[in-house]
């Protein structure tokens, strides 16, 4: 909008969202640089998940636009947004409970390979060895390969989250949106996830991460935006944000 800076992959431009009389998002302007990890922090109810919902087409903004790599996402359907390279991990895991862990991870790979619709019913699942082995290697990455034949519905909450992450990673998205990816995980699993997310970063994947765990935020983020009551009240490098008195008041005062 203002600059033609090639490094900006996601531009949330002046987004407002109201629910009835509630201003869930006001004047949100956010620019995310290619390959960077952008953290969004803020107290519960600040509007963090709403912001991601606007990005992936679950909610339409009341005004404003979201532009990803030259595509205007606003007005696009969720599957179209995914097809241009945006994947999301939800705050409450969205998985296929009745399918095995391996199949949960294979399904997104079909959308990536065959597009949003394909009558690929003359192919046999067993001949899709490329996708199967890729799914296995992604499961290896998130540490779930031992459970690949288990029903996904029976995984623990933390494991579901890791599996959902694997479901996103197999698509090699250009933008990955993570809504509290380590909530419900043990300290050990949280650290494994941090390592994993660091490794993805080396592959050049851009990420937005919403997180309450400051250890996670400060280990991963290149830039942090602080959201409170639907507004960005501070933005900057982790050091700048940590030092900001407004943040300490709004965030530390409101966190659970």
């Amino acid at each position: 909008m203002t600059t033609n800076d090639k490094d900006i992959v996601l531009h949330v431009a002046d987004v407002h969202k109201t629910f009835g009389g509630l201003h869930a998002l006001s004047d949100i302007d956010l620019q995310v640089e290619q390959g960077k990890t952008h953290a969004i922090i803020g107290p519960n109810g600040a509007g963090k998940s709403t912001l991601l919902n606007v990005c992936v087409g679950r909610l339409a903004p009341t005004s404003g636009a979201v532009i990803f790599d030259g595509h205007t996402l606003t007005g696009k359907k969720p599957h179209e947004i995914n097809q241009v390279g945006v994947a999301r991990v939800f705050q409450t895991p969205e998985i296929f409970p009745e399918l095995s862990v391996l199949h949960n991870v294979m399904v997104p790979a079909f959308a990536k390979r065959d597009g949003s619709f394909s009558l690929n019913f003359m192919r046999h699942l067993d001949t899709q060895s490329d996708i199967r082995s890729e799914a296995e290697s992604v499961l290896e990455d998130v540490g779930l390969v031992a459970q690949k034949d288990v029903h996904a519905g029976s995984l623990s909450r933390g494991d579901k989250r890791r599996m959902e992450l694997a479901m996103c990673l197999i698509q090699h998205p250009r933008l990955l949106l993570l809504d509290e990816p380590t909530a419900g995980m043990s300290r050990h699993d949280t650290n494994t996830t941090i390592d994993l997310l660091k490794r993805i970063k080396e592959r050049g994947m851009t990420k937005i991460i919403i997180e309450h765990d400051m250890h996670v935020v400060f280990s991963l983020a290149d830039k942090i935006s602080v959201l409170a009551q639907g507004r960005i009240i501070a933005e900057g490098s982790p050091e700048e944000v940590r030092a900001n008195p407004k943040v300490q008041e709004a965030y530390l005062g409101g966190a659970h």
Partner: protein, 381 residues
């Protein structure tokens, strides 16, 4: 392209043998006569198709009998206008029911869950009343659409003289009566099963399962779910049309009652009874319902008196009186009872019972398999 793994081959071979040897293994039950076995084969096709929509994709249609009816009417018209050959009749039946399915599916699939079911029910009832009264020139209303001696049959009559009696549907001259008729239906059932097996084991089938499991996730995973659900709807509608066409091939007559909502309900019942989502289950369910219908609706009081004659005199009467409620016209009571018992004790249908017995035999108390056991028992969230 035609890859099958060992399990697929076993399942397919097992099914084929089961179907083709029906005249042998059904003999002890007294059901091994062509008319009933044809019904088994035809309703097998019906529920295999229905299962692709309901069992795989999770959309419960309450109007699938409409497509059955469309298939029957189309086939009879093909007999009347063109030829008594079964192949064109079936092709037209499948095509036209497919067209109906595109229209009905396109509208109904704008909703899911109970609203989808109600929409399909409404459409089917519309089709029923169209057939029963509005479109009588095409459907012959109450009296059913039948062959007549004056039918044009342009293709047949271009090659042969008009005979004196009503002609019989045939396959390039081979009359579709008796066991020949059954084997014709049986081969088509096997092919229908093969296609359903391909679909189930393909990425496409996996996508349908994903839609059933979590349609929301599918949207955010990049799938355009609407055309997938429509494809499943149309495929299952075409299966129903094929079944309807076969009903006409084995008995060239089409009536509106075939499209009534009770007929649609029966299809749902068969599928759930056998085990929705499995390949075998719905077919077993269909066979059981059709067999029970045949047995119980044929019972009458004198049969019951014979059956209970071992009881002392005073006891016999009340037993016969109670049992009589459940047979003959009242056989639907039996069906309802059977259905309730299965749904309450085996929510996964008869196939779940088979699986349970299977696991009972395979692994006795075996602690190393704790993960698989807990996988079943733990709720999703």
């Amino acid at each position: 392209m035609f890859f099958m793994n060992r399990r697929d081959i076993l399942v397919f071979a097992g099914f084929t043998i089961l179907v083709l040897t029906m005249p042998i293994w059904l003999t002890p039950t007294g059901a091994a006569y062509p008319a009933l076995m044809q019904t088994f084969a035809i309703y097998g096709i019906m529920v295999i198709g229905f299962n692709i929509l309901f069992g795989l994709t999770g959309y419960l249609s309450f109007g699938h009998a409409a497509f059955l009816g469309v298939g029957s009417y189309t086939a009879v018209w093909s007999f009347k206008l063109l030829t008594m050959n079964a192949i064109p009749a079936l092709l037209f039946a499948v095509l036209l029911s497919g067209v109906f399915a595109v229209v009905i599916g396109y509208v109904s699939l704008r909703r899911s869950g109970i609203y989808f079911s109600i929409l399909t029910l409404a459409f089917a009832q519309m089709c029923y009343s169209l057939a029963y009264s509005v479109l009588t020139p095409i459907t012959n209303g109450e009296t059913s659409l039948q062959l007549t001696l004056q039918d044009p049959r342009v293709i047949d009559l271009a090659f042969t003289e008009r005979g004196s009696g009503l002609p019989v549907p045939n396959l390039f001259g081979l009359p579709m009566t008796g066991l020949t008729g059954f084997y014709f239906c049986a081969v088509i059932l096997v092919l229908a099963f093969f296609l359903a097996q391909r679909i189930t084991n393909s990425p496409f089938g996996m996508t349908l399962k994903g839609i059933k499991s979590n349609q929301n996730r599918m949207d955010y995973t990049g799938f355009n779910t609407r055309p997938y659900t429509l494809a499943a709807f149309v495929i299952s509608g075409m299966y129903a049309g094929l079944a309807g066409g076969l009903l006409a091939v084995t008995d060239p007559l089409a009536g509106a009652e075939r499209m009534q909502w009770t007929a649609s309900g029966e299809i749902v019942l068969m599928t759930i009874l056998g085990g929705a989502g499995t390949l075998f289950g719905p077919v077993i369910g269909a066979w059981l319902v059709k067999y029970a219908e045949n047995i119980f609706s044929a019972f009458n009081e004198s049969v019951l008196h014979n059956f209970f004659s071992f009881l002392p005199d005073g006891m016999e009467e009340p037993f016969v009186w109670v049992a009589a409620l459940f047979v003959g016209e009242g056989w639907h009571l039996t069906l309802g009872l059977l259905f309730m018992i299965v749904v309450i004790f085996l929510p996964g249908g008869i196939m779940e019972g088979v699986r349970r017995i299977g696991t009972l035999f395979r692994r006795r108390p075996d602690t190393s398999d704790g993960s698989a056991v807990s996988a079943k028992q733990q709720p999703a969230e």
